[in-house]
């Protein structure tokens, strides 16, 4: 399995999560095509344009908060409801919680901030334990456990994070081929420049087969240095009833 590249990462948290603006992104600029240049600011009154959209060019994307896992050999991943068998989704959820708690405090994020925050999950390994469990069941002629249907795609846990924290920007999942962090940063900056998101929760998660190290990952909240300058999104969100009821 490919190891998660953290070389050049500008954010190395000293605790469960850290907040504070860190300029982007020397590591990402070293390879590949140029970083996204801001698109022209949408015209006043354009649908979907947040009041602070015009500040991106001035503020520039920065790492607003970050977190990593594990922080020590004793670090544990809490189970999450509805996800079984594999550590991949709990790893993603824990990384998101650590990062977002350090910035927002209690969840969900305020509607003004979460409404246009994207979730970007990048993983070279993907959920290899779930894929292996599905393959084992099929090869043995057993029915696949229904819960594996949901978690077999990374979108499921990305949606879990989005619902839990009220993040209603785009949901994107990628498998970078190389330079994982730099590639993910390019994806994040492109999302910001494209205009459908004002901030991006980037989660890098790698699941490692037994005997080959251990699962690991990091999360970063990326947005304009001046974020949030205020304002409200065009369509406020309500916390879904089932999220409140089930406590996810």
């Amino acid at each position: 399995m490919s190891a998660l590249s953290v070389a050049g990462s500008p954010a190395v948290p000293a605790a469960g999560g850290t907040s504070g603006a860190v300029p982007l992104l020397a590591g990402a600029q070293a390879a590949g095509p140029p970083l996204a240049a801001p698109l022209p600011t949408p015209g006043a009154g354009a649908a979907g344009a947040a009041p602070w959209a015009g500040l991106r060019a001035d503020g520039g994307p920065v790492i607003l908060a970050s977190a990593s896992w594990p922080l020590s050999p004793a670090d544990q991943l809490p189970a999450i409801p509805g996800f079984v068998t594999s550590s991949f989704s709990p790893l993603v959820a824990e990384l998101a919680d650590r990062c977002l708690q350090s910035y927002f405090g209690a969840r969900p994020a305020s509607q003004a901030l979460g409404g246009r925050t994207a979730v970007l999950l990048a993983s070279t390994s993907g959920d290899i334990a779930t894929a292996a469990a599905v393959a084992a069941a099929v090869e043995a002629g057993r029915r696949v456990p229904p819960l594996l249907f949901f978690q077999s795609n990374p979108n499921a846990v990305a949606g879990y994070v989005a619902a839990r924290w009220g993040l209603a920007g785009p949901v994107v999942c990628t498998m970078p081929a190389a330079d994982t962090l730099a590639d993910a940063h390019r994806s994040a900056l492109l999302l910001l420049a494209d205009g459908d998101a004002d901030a991006v929760l980037l989660i890098l998660a790698e699941q490692v087969q037994a005997g080959d190290g251990g699962d690991h990952g990091l999360a970063q909240l990326i947005g304009p240095s001046s974020w949030p300058p205020g304002g409200t999104p065009p369509e406020p969100l309500s916390q879904p009833d089932h999220v409140q009821e089930r406590g996810i």
Partner: protein
């Protein structure tokens, strides 16, 4: 972020080449014939044993094709269509949307991981090594298209190739069967009363996207304009869509805003339309929320009703269907229809393909995790 020099005005994003393979066969003509006929391509699964599944049908190519072979062939077709030779390909970014190969979960030494497949396709077709792969389920390909368009629109790239592929496999059928997502009556009935779920289908597709200026400089006539694209999340549930459709509606609005078009300009919607009860109802709500009164008049069909759900590749397969509809000025059939559902009050294309005079078509996709995309194509 480092300040960058202002990009030269790239003009609109255009589609200059297409390649596609589905259960209807290889090439756009076979796909067009299939979606206009309204005859579903579903048949009993023969590629592998489906004896442990309740649902044993899917839309499949003959035999046991390999994903890397089929994607490479479609990408070659798209490049040939666009007049993109080796020199051009070598400096063109390739983005892929792929379903994982079951072989990789069974044998780590099989060199069949998603990354292996991506690398093989890039090498065979002459693109730079190590392309990024999009894995976001049923919006993987449409997300890759949106990223490619954003790269071109922002001046980062003159052109980007996007290719996607899913071939029905035993693991996928078993997973969807276990999740009770498959239609036990063997038909996909989008937006219809009595719909029972989705069916899987092979889908492999590729496009070359370019700035209009770059295409003009090469003397290439585009197949279509990618006029707009939009993405938004539901922030609602692990797998279910937000019932009021507000997430998908924001994606539609974003695509229209980029295109500087009004809802009334949309002449056809190729819907996500999986044939799943709550998903289709949410999509109908999204169309009414995103298009307003125009949603009552715009023709809608989900061609998943005939070619099946191609998962990670569906967004690109269906984008090509929308381009073909524009080119032919004929609208594909929404097959499998049994009768109206009050939660899906749309102008569905029923019975036979419909003649139309349309300038813009909207292709919608939605996925687990509340991910929504809207791609808006216009006549070149």
């Amino acid at each position: 972020m480092a300040s960058l020099p202002p990009a030269a005005e790239p003009g609109p994003v255009v589609i200059t080449g297409m390649g596609v393979t589905s259960a209807f066969g290889r090439g756009p003509a076979a796909l067009l014939d299939g979606v206009l006929s309204g005859t579903p391509a579903f048949a009993p699964v023969t590629r592998f044993s489906a004896e442990h599944c309740r649902v044993k049908v899917a839309a499949q190519l003959p035999g046991t094709p390999l994903l890397a072979d089929e994607i490479s062939a479609a990408l070659e077709d798209a490049c040939t269509d666009a007049g993109a030779g080796p020199e051009l390909r070598a400096r063109t970014t390739l983005l892929l949307a792929l379903h994982s190969d079951p072989a990789a979960a069974r044998d780590a030494a099989a060199d069949r991981t998603v990354g292996d497949t991506a690398g093989l396709v890039a090498a065979r077709c002459g693109f730079p090594a190590a392309p990024r792969v999009y894995s976001a389920a049923c919006v993987a390909a449409s997300t890759a298209v949106a990223d490619a368009a954003a790269m071109i629109a922002s001046g980062q790239a003159d052109r980007v190739a996007v290719a996607a592929g899913f071939l029905v496999d035993n693991d996928s059928l078993a997973l969807f069967d276990a999740g009770r997502a498959l239609a036990v009556d063997g038909q996909v009935r989008p937006f219809s009363a009595g719909r029972r779920g989705l069916l899987l289908g092979d889908g492999v597709a590729a496009v070359l996207l370019e700035s209009a200026a770059a295409a003009r400089d090469r003397g290439i006539r585009p197949a279509a304009v990618l006029a707009g694209w939009g993405r938004a999340g539901d922030a609602y549930h692990v797998v279910q869509p937000r019932p009021d459709g507000s997430g998908l509606a924001r994606a539609i609005t974003s695509a229209l805003r980029r295109a500087q078009l009004d809802p009334a300009d949309v002449g056809y919607v190729n819907a996500n339309g999986t044939g799943t009860s709550f998903s289709d109802a949410a999509e109908a709500a999204a169309l009414h929320r995103g298009l307003g009164p125009a949603a009552e008049r715009v023709p809608v069909s989900s061609t998943k009703s005939v070619h099946g759900h191609a998962l990670e590749a569906s967004g690109l397969l269906e984008l090509i269907v929308a381009v073909l509809a524009l080119r032919e000025q004929r609208l594909p059939v929404n097959a499998g229809y049994l009768g109206p559902d009050q939660d899906c009050q749309l102008d569905l294309v029923l019975g036979a393909a419909r003649e139309a005079g349309l300038r813009y078509a909207l292709s919608l996709n939605a996925a687990f995790g509340g991910a929504n995309t809207a791609l808006l194509v216009g006549a070149a």
